[in-house]
Symmetry: C2
Subunit: 414 residues, 2 copies
Amino acid sequence: MRQSKLFTKTVKELPKDEGSYNAQALIRAGFIDKVAAGVYSYLPLGKRVIENICQIVREEMNSVGGQEISMTALIPKENLESSQRWDNFDVLFRLTGQDQREYALGATHEEIVAPLAKKFISSYKDLPFAAYQIQTKFRNEKRAKAGLLRGREFLMKDLYSFHTDQADLDLYYDQVTEAYWRIFDRLGLKDKTYLTYASGGSFAKYSHEFQTLAESGEDLIYICEKCRVAVNREIIAEQDSCPLCGQKELIEKKAIETGNIFKLGTRFSAPFNVQYKDKEGVEKPVIMGCYGFGPSRVMGTIVEIFHDEKGMMWPENIAPFSVQLISLNTPEESDKLYQELEDAGIKTLYDDRDISAGGKFADADLIGCPYRLVVSSKTLAADSVELKARTEENSELIKLQDILKNLMARLSKS
Amino acid sequence: MRQSKLFTKTVKELPKDEGSYNAQALIRAGFIDKVAAGVYSYLPLGKRVIENICQIVREEMNSVGGQEISMTALIPKENLESSQRWDNFDVLFRLTGQDQREYALGATHEEIVAPLAKKFISSYKDLPFAAYQIQTKFRNEKRAKAGLLRGREFLMKDLYSFHTDQADLDLYYDQVTEAYWRIFDRLGLKDKTYLTYASGGSFAKYSHEFQTLAESGEDLIYICEKCRVAVNREIIAEQDSCPLCGQKELIEKKAIETGNIFKLGTRFSAPFNVQYKDKEGVEKPVIMGCYGFGPSRVMGTIVEIFHDEKGMMWPENIAPFSVQLISLNTPEESDKLYQELEDAGIKTLYDDRDISAGGKFADADLIGCPYRLVVSSKTLAADSVELKARTEENSELIKLQDILKNLMARLSKS
């Protein structure tokens, strides 16, 4: 895309009350816009990033047989009364329609998916299955000061699975855990993410959070370096040793909860009467699991982790563009190279604007595409283009005839 | 996809209060689920259809330079007060956060996009541009009895354009009109859709609706057959002749408003003070246009138009699957053909279920994929598979070795 056509620009003024690094950087670079605390619009660059994240999540959910659906944001009061959450769930936005019906805005969707599943389950032959959505959630938080890390309106992927028994749930739960690791790997976050033991509620000893280490994290976790697992703050008093090896030297770290998986058991199938007939014709309750992942929170997490003093540094898989091409008064040659990059399918943000070289370099660093190409009279004198990885200090001159091959090789590694 | 794995089934029982054909058929076939009147979840088959529609819309919006964004559902009261719509817009859902701020749920997004655009516009050089989103809208309708045709929660594509002057808006408005025709063409609705003159508000003589003829439509339009345009009910008293040729023999028809384009002028740029400096440095108001299209309403419209007494008949471009493959006790040969279809990239719903032949045929007709293939001992005796188009009465036997080529040829025509 030609940057001269992009309607957003990097901005110098920030909303006064924006304290989080992720929102500051994303607003400055024109990726998002703040509508209210915890309520952000996604602008073209940010939309590309969030879609890249969602697509990775979608592929991995499909890989474990998840069937994509899209549930409603409006949840009738009756549904939340059935599960006893209408009065007890403190972050619900509540509203009343002209039909005098009361609704909450979906903060999570067990109360929609359980009665939905009930309609299609009669026999053990209908099980197991899993359905997921990537959809806007609403949480009426008292405070929302962490940018994309804690939104009042945010994107969430929620997968729900339905099983005949605990053993089948356990099996699937492990499959989803592996799918989550593939997601974190593709997002460049695997090394910093810990499977973290958390309270299991009534139906399992533990649930699990995926906690990604970050100084700006609101959570504290306690890591066993040997087993690469952790315990969350909620249960550290009762579980003060590694749940795997038993050793007690756990290291406290700040982290962001980027995913959460939970064995629901019959917590929701019981109130919604979701049952199946087993092989002997006996009615039994369906066993459920739920698996959350926050694409917008993960976008904020990536910004918190991958940046330097000049701006963001997007991992290649989710960058808005792979390459930022900067023309320094070389419109003809730059246009030609831009066309070649586009033809080769390399996603390129082409800075063809009539602004200073310094402005272009500063914007490229702030926006943080993985590779920067500069075409100037100096590079052209050497039949070359300057290439610099956003994560590296030094640039190198690459012959014009080699640049496509060079870039393709770099991008295919990721 | 193997139908035995699809978690939805066709259902016989309908919600009691569901009077519209489109919702009845979509619920019976397992495409959508009713959560409340005008509030529907999209299940795997329905999600595929709506995504196909959205992708066509996205491609055509990109073709006119639209930049995709995603604005918020929560709109602060102040924004709607600025445009004097907080008190006057009768379909707003209003709610209050724990921060004591009041919000409306987005029914349209001029009040978000105008202040957003303002942040990036200073000079005439920043214009024109256009941004769009495909996003959930909320309308607090008193009644919602038309299924997907009138939702309280529904999908909408809304494009907004920003210009230095009326002439530039007019030019772009015509380009978007052409893009809309391409959309209706790809959806198979062009022949039934009329550009319909409607009230223009303060800034233009007319706005335009795209009205698609359907017996179940809630609107009345007055058609000039010669010019293939129409006048809507709102202005027929003052505009009782064809706006193009002037003839007065207009034909009254029922129709569904599937799109709506509007020259906003300074209606929203004035209250939000969206201005630019012209070449002489003079501050001038930005001229806006807005362009709506309802993917979920269009999905309902297509069901209303393309069906027979047995069920739905999806146009190829938006069908959930191109082919429904039915195995009649021929698992081995059907599995093989299914694999071949998948390998060839032909989207196939494979009915491998252990149910009666009659049940499979009835489900295939209800679900309405464009082509049905049947593999039975009888067809195999002739080294063949039976092919039937959903829109045709008769089936034909095609040699197994020719079926891929035959299908590819049919599908490439659409």
